[in-house]
Symmetry: C2
Subunit: 339 residues, 2 copies
Amino acid sequence: MQTQTQNRQFKLAARPVGMPKRSDWDLVTEPVREVGEGEVSVRTLYLSLDPAMRGWMNDVRSYVPPVGIGEVMRAFGAGRVTASRHPGFTVGDYVTGTLGVQEYAVMDGAQLTRADVAAVPLTAHVSALGMTGMTAYFGLLDVGRPEAGQTVVVSGAAGAVGTVVGQIAKIKGCRVVGIAGGAEKCRYVVDELGFDAAVDYKSENVVKALREHCPRGIDVYFDNVGGEILDACLANLARRARIVICGAISQYNSTTGVRGPSNYMTLLVTRSRMEGFLVFDYADRYPEAAREMARWMQEGRLKSQEEIVDGFETFPETLLMLFRGENVGKLMLRVGADD
Amino acid sequence: MQTQTQNRQFKLAARPVGMPKRSDWDLVTEPVREVGEGEVSVRTLYLSLDPAMRGWMNDVRSYVPPVGIGEVMRAFGAGRVTASRHPGFTVGDYVTGTLGVQEYAVMDGAQLTRADVAAVPLTAHVSALGMTGMTAYFGLLDVGRPEAGQTVVVSGAAGAVGTVVGQIAKIKGCRVVGIAGGAEKCRYVVDELGFDAAVDYKSENVVKALREHCPRGIDVYFDNVGGEILDACLANLARRARIVICGAISQYNSTTGVRGPSNYMTLLVTRSRMEGFLVFDYADRYPEAAREMARWMQEGRLKSQEEIVDGFETFPETLLMLFRGENVGKLMLRVGADD
């Protein structure tokens, strides 16, 4: 395995207004620093690109501190150990963790997780078995609490979390309707992932299409997008429905403020609830979920759909694919070859 | 007890746009009809005026059908039996039920409830022991689930439901902050009802005032008003907070559409939920709640604050007091003298 002494990093240069621009980033090269006691050096192979990253770039108090100007951008990823002074890791191990947008991460070994690539490929540890899969699993099952026979609607259906949410809902015996942008994505979630129906929000009236596909109303709506689609789902709730607030990608680059769901009073009419969650709260249950998800993958019931883009230096442009709806499945950056 | 043969009624003449106008009503006089088998004739003494009545006037599908054009306006109220062919009632009994905005209601006895005026006055059966009190009780305790020591915020704090919510929260050992319009209402809820603090939304920055009065954040927010105040509360949630959606009086007469809560993504950051409810779902538990509330009243721990306006013919104007924030406590119309 190759090692280098130089480490390329993307640091946040400015707080973006609207869509992040190239000039909001500094691409810098620094020497890889020495591994201290308890630390591990990891060569980054894959970086996870997530909508939540946009929020971390804003200077607002949230569930994690914002990335500071001049700091390496925060990112989850997978890589291989190149040096270790932590007893849990040896050179060559595959690991996942919050590596940051950089070619090498030297960090506390306690913050890394070993990835078993014999069972499932390394990329799946970033997607279906990573934060993405955990988000889908706990958001759907713990917050949404779908029952067999109920109707589950998921937006961003062809995205990283949406593809997993819909497949888990199918495994649990639900009727699953996806909302996605474009005929190709809609075809994909129905034909390849087994959703019962899909709504193309770019060409259909979402309120009407949901009424048609969910004749008994929506029991669980897993919201990745916010905006008009959230309102369309609020207009189609079944009684005692659960709306899982996972994200609001349609609003993250807004320069005119967030659009609140004006149909929220249907929560009263239908006696429903809308609830937010953070996957980090379920950290002690990740292993349990990962075991179950790995089994579903091995049984062929759960696909880890990935869209992998090559080239560390493309990070600023590749990230924007998320907000333009250009990815199908989990968007990842391939940073280094696993040689 | 006087009885008449003529029955004055307010019927809905037109669907209002914005604030209901006189011309949206027809005041008609009809003969009191004969009591059929199983029916009871009730002389209306008090009518409950409720924000929800505005919603019933719109031609939209909701938890109850809209009042039809030409129908007697729906209203809850209290009165005295003038004739009965139902075994559960005899002439002179005090009762409550959905009497409608009319001087006499002839209706199925099964839809009436006997009111024990020896224990608490008849007006309290319309306010703290009526729908108002039930709404406060189940909304706060079953949906909000406050724990002793937690912070409960209620808007419309000096209104019918708000006054009861705040007092129950105090009985349960919570810190209670009310939001109301004007210094007089704020003084009232603190000095007369024992709230810990009050915010005057007409003269204060609500976000800042809540931050000051709720230093550990809001654990339960009981929302009667919607709009900007809902957003201000969303900006001040504690972790795992519960927002109880009871009403949105600030939005009911809007002619430009409902304003959705643009701060709803704090539900995610704080892992909180926003939940709607309808008091009718708790009908089988009303007696239990009414017994507990009556005991609190007899112990002097719960006041039934009422604002009673005289004169059946004032109904159209008196109803508007709700939307102008002119009432303190439960707004009622005194229709007849109990002679």
